[in-house]
């Protein structure tokens, strides 16, 4: 096993292990913290997949944006004077079984499906390629996404506004 593989499995282990912690930890902030490592790990996977731009985006938006938002959410919705924010789970047994079954199904599908394999030649710069695609082929979805973001922004602002009584 080469060093590259080692690194890869380390990243995978980090990702999956911390993801497991996210969904099992009894402390909310620890979950968020584990999510941080999961997201970093996934960014690492992207690097292995030669998607450096997506990796960067992942860190900027997920870590810098969404995760912070989540932490804010945690702090705004709990008595912040209490450090040990714990939370409980339910239907763990049933959930576990169901999810395991689902995973088994998925795995079977992955392993048995005849995937169309074509090793894409890694583009010289994925940034340029992505940029071109976004501005030409995916212009409309791109614009729609911007509208979606705007709508989400306005919606979120409206939702969390204090009702003027």
């Amino acid at each position: 096993m080469s060093l590259s593989d080692l690194t890869f499995f380390f990243v995978v282990a980090l990702t999956i292990g911390s993801a497991l912690y996210v969904v099992t930890s009894q402390k909310l902030v620890y979950s968020a913290m584990a999510l941080f490592f999961t997201l970093l790990g996934i960014a690492g996977l992207f690097v292995f997949l030669m998607a450096d731009f997506i990796a960067g985006t992942q860190i900027v938006i997920y870590v810098g944006g969404i995760l912070v938002l989540i932490v804010f959410g945690i702090m705004l919705t709990n008595r912040i004077s209490d450090v040990r924010l714990s939370h409980t789970s339910m239907q763990r047994g049933v959930g576990g079984v169901v999810v395991l079954l689902i995973f088994a199904g998925l795995y079977k599908m992955i392993s048995s499906a005849p995937w169309y394999l074509e090793s894409a030649s890694a583009p010289e710069s994925s940034v340029k390629g992505i940029g071109k695609l976004l501005m030409i082929e995916y212009l409309l979805p791109f614009e729609v996404a911007s509208v979606l973001l705007l709508a989400a922004l306005v919606g979120a602002a409206m939702l969390s506004r204090k009702s003027k009584s």
């Binding site: 705004l76 912040i80 004077s81 306005v154 602002a157 969390s160 506004r161 204090k162």
Partner: protein
Amino acid sequence: MTESLDLELGSVQTEEMVLNMGPQHPSTHGVLRLKVLTDGEIVTRITPYIGYLHRCFEKHCENVTYEQVLPYTDRCDYIAAMNNNFGYAVAVEKLMDIKVPEKVEHIRVIVAELNRIASHLLAVGTFGLDVGAFTPFLYCFRDRERILDLFEMLCGARLLYSYIWVGGLSHDLPVGWVEKAYEFLDYFEPQVEEYNNILTFNKIFIERTADVGVLPQEVAISYGVTGPNLRGSGVKWDLRKDDPYSIYDKFEFDIPIGTGVVGTVGDCWDRYYIRVREIEESVKIVRQALEQLPRDGDVHEAIPKKIRPPKGQLYNRTETPRGELGYYIISNGKPIADRLKMRSPAFTALSCIDEIARGWMISDVFAILGSLDIVLGEIDR
């Protein structure tokens, strides 16, 4: 699009939180504790808790002779000890009907005004510090140091002078002091411009202080707020002019009042700027007093051998840098006062904090507190 989306943090509903400011906190100017109820960063109520520095001043006064009270007055407002000495001396002199020599009066006015400058410098500097400007603080201290040097030359002490005695002074002016004082004034006068440049008219400083913590006139009067704080609210009231004691009626000076140049009348900036301008006025008074100072005469001349005021009572008030300092003295003819009550200006100024800081943000509480310029030694006594 006239109405912009209100995306600031304040619009998210949060729970009220109790924040204990002090008694150990960098910006409470002493051991003051403020229990602050906040909603996010917005202050909903402030309850001051004082008394951490209570030293039984009034109880002491009922147990020691009039002469012995004097050092205690130093320790009440330790930032402006000369003014406190002055007020006490004037009160007892009135009670005993003593007339002090001209020279003594002049020297008293000079040191009192110098101490007023020193005190205001401290207030201005720390106020800058409260809103995050560090450099003006050190500039102010640099200049305050020179005044303290003058006082040291005068009586050997740098903070607690006990210089002004009942009926006179502890020491006569040392040789060369007047020249040094002139030298200081010549150096100091242009410095005020520097403070204005670095702090007063700084855009961020104005943003932070203008319109913040407005203290309206009626409220100020009702809360018994006096001194620069009252004048900041636009009331032209200064005991040196309106109820002159000592020889203040001999000098020409203005009483600056808040005009709301950059915000509302009575906001933090006004209170701050009053102090800057009072520094200028005090410099004027010191110059006049130095010019009129009689060169000969004995400063100990009128000091009574034994201080034993006749039976009676008296409420006497003088203007310290923080406002009206009142002494209520009841004498029953003994060398020890029957009752000596000190009415301290900072005490009244602090009492209005809840009224004016409510609804502002946490950062503003410090700006407001700083603008009131309180000295805990005087509040707690």
